[in-house]
Symmetry: C2
């Protein structure tokens, strides 16, 4: 149907008495094409313009239900003025929800309002009592149960009343008003023409600490390929550090054709292991395990062991192949072929990836291709994996992801997908709309106060906050950003604090991160001797490592619910461009975390912080406690300004838990 | 279908190869539920986010067609960065238009981009020429006519090429690129899933000067009821003043029951004519003419005469009745009845309108009611009326207006409707969305610089500017605003200049306006001895009347196309809160009008105006002419600041035509 037909009223079977207009329902992503995202315990705040012509009062109702329910729960919305209404509901179950809004004309409420005005201006209102009684009688017809009788009683009282005062007290009784509001006739209302969806996922979708490592580097013996068994020994330490997702680069057989040598060299020396992203060899493809890592069974054991340490293993799924992948022979149509009969390898000129051939999603055989790729995800889900980090999703069609994620969730609803897309903003956002639970971001390249403030504002205000869950990575195997190359240990700490407190999801590529590995290929943001192309030996306990700091960071995150949320961030004024300050609080302000980070890794920076006492509900005249959870230091502050000084060589950041009230007993406890 | 089903992909028959995402198409009112508005000669500027995954280039196309056409006109959109595209088309015909957008993946363009990079970095690209040739061959398959052969020629040239330079020059040839773009296969594209509507009306919908008068006051003999014949004598003067719409309050028989006396008195003296809005008596209802005004034939003659003076007569249609209206007996179900058997008159406590009974649109008989009301509009359309000022539309259902306006336009597409709604902003905007061509506004109560700036910004930025055409009235028979009561002649002039230059549609209630009638009921914004309740005698040529100023204002409006538009307004800095300054320019800046108004009717105000030379394209170093079209004064200005001084007793405003370039010959002409 043309839009114009809708405009022209064709196909509109609503009666001529429909009088309610509903506009600007929020949140609504792309006209309701995509769901918003939540986890249990979070609220959905819904706003709408709901109004009718004339002077009649409107009653606005928020409707919501889980996918499993047939009937709506109803919540009265509150007026914000200018015909805007707001209401909210809490996600209780880990299942998708629907929501919509409805508006009613409330003739009774309008009548009562006019009655009050008339009595105030001493007009004779006797006949109006009878009109009110008629309205109540009418509403009684659509009421149910006890209400019918009750409403009729009230109607009778009004009819028989001769005294304005007593009639008015009946008419304005709270109980009557409530009963009227729950008994309004649906025929006098209008429902919004869309039912909007909330995609509900488990908590780890919104609050997670990721640790990425290359299993092959952990044999403990130089030159020897590490195994899943070797990695089991790392679990206690990763768990102690407080990470709850252990993410492994692709674990599949690696191709030999055009295998890359160290530092992405075209010349591959004997023994070079190749890039794990060059997937597939005669030993198998995406459903096989690299023989030197172990067997499927050993992998499953590893996953189970991890679970005992409260660690979930996340797999990297890269939908691309080495030229030796079985698919190349079995499904030549899934690849691009050049005029000389050779296969088209991946390239992004001037860069070439000769060890990798991309899948041609534009193939006429896309139906079979999609099904095969789905079978890969389902295969690993069957092995116990519920978190996937999808490699380069921005080079595959949006429609494919929308379909794939939905299909997998039909069978394994608790599956989480992380989108590894460093590309144009609109593409990254669209992938999130298509169903990715979490997304890589530009955090890695944000450095200045202005950049952080603008970027966090973009991520946490408006539509983006409703469907896009950032996951902040200070480094990845692909990216050693400039500030880490030159900023030394203080820069690593600052970036860890930023990632872990700005975003409720964060991750590091370890142990390169906690060992402050900073050697890059000259003039590039890439690791020298990258682990992508060789087996490395890490001295995990090397002096100066950040393991204890990461441990503290993750404990602070776990213990402070205000850090489990991203969109609650608010920035604070502090008179120094090198100091970034923000706070996060829970809805009831029972947990407030104030973070100050020195963005300059070389020099001590100081400034006067404006503590937003009004927002935090702190009395200007009373003292309050700021407890640095990173260092253990405690400060008693009073008033709106506080002096901050951060020496990057001691600690480049404060993570202050702010206590609103210092009662005597608490003080005592607290200072012990 | 549930939104969720769409999300889940049910009912989606698009192939898996669809790769283009289209988001944030603009303008789009309430998800495309309502049309935007234009007149012939205006442009529609369309923006959209159009993008695909990966690195392939996108070609974005704006499609438009008139309602009468089956095929689309195509316009290439231009990239604005960040995957945003923009294009525009011009409305040529007075007929509704559709528009939408389409995106294509342009494999050729991507290939060419990569080729350039490769050649720049001296990579061997010989095989890429052949790949390019294949792409061209593929496109040739969906091309038509001569293009097929041409494209194949180019493909062959590329295939046979051995020299990077010559191959590159073939690949980057402009002619080839254009041909590719017009030959892209629809299968490689995606079309936006909505066709959006432009409601196109004739010019007077966007640019009009209204004059309202009560015909009964123009007999020329005190106490005698004026007639249409009498009014014919006024036409030359109204035409000389430059008004093009003559709007008459209701011309129907007036009820006698509860007829109001002078000053809205409940006591009606013998001979009191009653309010024209108390429609209907035994002499007829909405399709009858008040016998003392004349006959239908005389009315039609009057309308025809007016046309000779380039004046269109607009009728006021008030869908309400006096208690004596024939409908009350014929269709009792269309009214509300009180428990004592009396009819419910209009009231808005504490105000009462005992001479008027509202129509109950909530009647079960709404179908017949709607048809009867439509027949009223069609009746007057048959008598030659094409402009209607609908009284109190905000007390009738939105769905009724949407239906009525559409129905009338099906038969009389050139009909214009003005919405007389002074009510909540959302309701006023919704009425405009439902189809009203023009709307009353809050202009009447805006006074300060801040208020004007904010209100004009609200009306001319964002969605509102696309569907809402303001009509600014300094006074109406219902409203004599405070600033006119106390500001004297300078206030009247200032308000006329503001109304006539801020908005391309404006109107006055005359001759109360041009005679500066300022006597109000104490502490109310209502006229004392209001013409609504009595026959008045006006001395139209009274000393101090504003007829010549209004004449000049309307001539300035007519001669300067920048004043035919409302949304082109830009405010200028001027260091005095009592001086309001703004300019309007045509798209090509060939016509620039700069207005400065002294908002203080009592004192001379002065300040330094910041002329936005950059925006206006005026050279800082050169002199330019500012010609006051109101007073005839001419100023030669240079540089960004100009001193302004306005004595309200001389002229409270400048209306300056700014000439960008003063060439020697022109100067001469101009200063003669």
């Amino acid at each position: 149907m043309f839009e114009s037909d809708k405009i022209r009223g064709k196909g509109n079977d609503q009666g001529g008495r429909e009088r309610i207009a509903i506009e600007r329902v929020w949140p609504e992503i792309e006209g309701g094409k995509f769901p918003i995202k939540r986890i249990p315990g979070e609220n959905v705040v819904v706003g709408a313009d709901i109004f009718a012509e004339g002077h009649d009062d409107v009653t606005a109702v928020l409707l919501y239900r889980t996918m499993k329910e047939d009937t709506w729960h109803e919540i009265r919305m509150a007026p914000l003025g200018n015909d805007r209404w707001v209401g909210s509901f809490r996600i209780e179950e880990e299942v998708d929800y629907f929501y919509t809004v409805r508006g009613y004309l409330n003739e009774f409420s309008s009548w009562r309002k006019d009655l009050e005005k008339k009595i105030k201006t001493s007009q004779n209102a006797l006949i109006d009592f009878k009109i009110g009684a008629q309205i109540i009688e009418k509403i009684a017809k659509s009421a149910v149960g006890e209400n019918v009788k009750q409403l009729r009683n009230w109607a009778q009282k009004l009819t028989e009343s001769n005294d304005p005062e007593s009639a008015l007290s009946v008419a304005t009784g709270k109980e009557l008003l409530n009963m009227i509001e729950t008994s309004l006739d649906e025929k006098d209302g209008a429902m919004y023409d869309k039912q909007l969806l909330v995609s509900v996922e488990r908590k780890i979708a919104a609050f997670s600490s990721w640790y990425e490592l290359f299993p092959r580097s952990w044999s403990g013996t130089p030159g020897q390929h590490g195994t899943f068994k070797d990695c089991e020994r790392l679990l206690p330490e990763i768990s102690r550090m407080g990470f709850d997702v252990l993410y492994l680069p692709p674990i599949h057989p690696i191709g030999e054709t055009n295998r890359k040598g160290r530092n992405n060299s075209m010349v591959c020396e004997r023994g070079d292991p190749g890039s794990p992203w060059a997937i597939g060899s005669k030993e198998g493809g995406h459903k096989a395990v690299h023989p030197q890592l172990g067997t499927i069974k050993e992998f499953k054991d590893f996953v189970k062991k991890a679970k005992k340490y409260n660690i979930e293993v996340a797999l990297d799924l890269a939908f691309q192949c080495s030229p030796d992948h079985p698919y190349v022979k079995e499904h030549p149509r899934w690849f691009k072929w050049r005029p000389d009969g050779t296969i088209q390898y991946a390239e992004n000129p001037p860069k070439k990836y000769e060890d990798i051939v991309p899948i041609n999603f534009n193939t006429e055989d896309w139906g079979d291709l999609w099904k095969e790729l789905r079978s890969i995800v389902l295969f690993w889900a069957e092995q116990g994996i519920r978190i996937f980090r999808m490699d380069n999703p921005h080079t595959k069609p949006f429609s494919f992801w929308e379909w794939l994620i939905d299909e997998v969730k039909q069978e394994y609803p608790d599956t989480i997908f992380l989108s590894e897309a460093f590309t144009r903003p609109k593409v990254m956002y669209r992938l999130a709309k298509c169903g990715f639970s979490q997304s890589y971001t530009y955090f890695t390249w944000r450095n200045t106060k202005k950049e952080f403030t603008e970027y966090m504002t973009e991520l946490t205000r408006g539509a983006v906050a409703e469907y896009f869950r950032p996951n902040f990575w200070p480094n990845t195997p692909d990216i050693l950003p400039e500030h880490l190359q030159f900023g030394g240990r203080p820069a690593f700490i600052a970036r860890a604090v930023l990632a872990a407190t700005l975003s409720s999801n964060f991750g590091i590529y370890g142990p390169a991160f906690e060992l402050c590995a900073a050697e890059s290929i000259p003039n590039k943001e890439e690791y020298f001797n990258s682990e992508k192309y060789e087996i490395k030996q890490w001295d995990w306990n090397r002096q100066g490592n950040l393991k204890d700091i990461l441990t503290r960071l993750n404990r602070i995150r776990k213990e402070n619910p205000s850090l489990h949320i991203t969109r609650n961030i608010r920035f604070c004024q502090i008179g120094n461009e090198n100091l970034l300050c923000y706070y996060k609080a829970t809805g009831d302000f029972s947990n407030i975390i104030l973070v100050v980070v020195n963005l300059d890794p070389y020099h001590t920076q100081s400034g006067w912080l404006q503590v937003p006492l009004d927002e935090l509900g702190i009395d200007k005249e009373k003292s309050y406690l700021a407890h640095d959870l990173l260092t253990g230091d405690k400060y008693i502050w009073q008033g709106e300004t506080s002096y901050i000084e951060l020496n990057p060589n001691n600690s480049p950041a404060h993570i202050l838990r702010v206590r609103r009230q210092l009662r005597r007993e608490q003080d005592f406890d607290y200072f012990l």
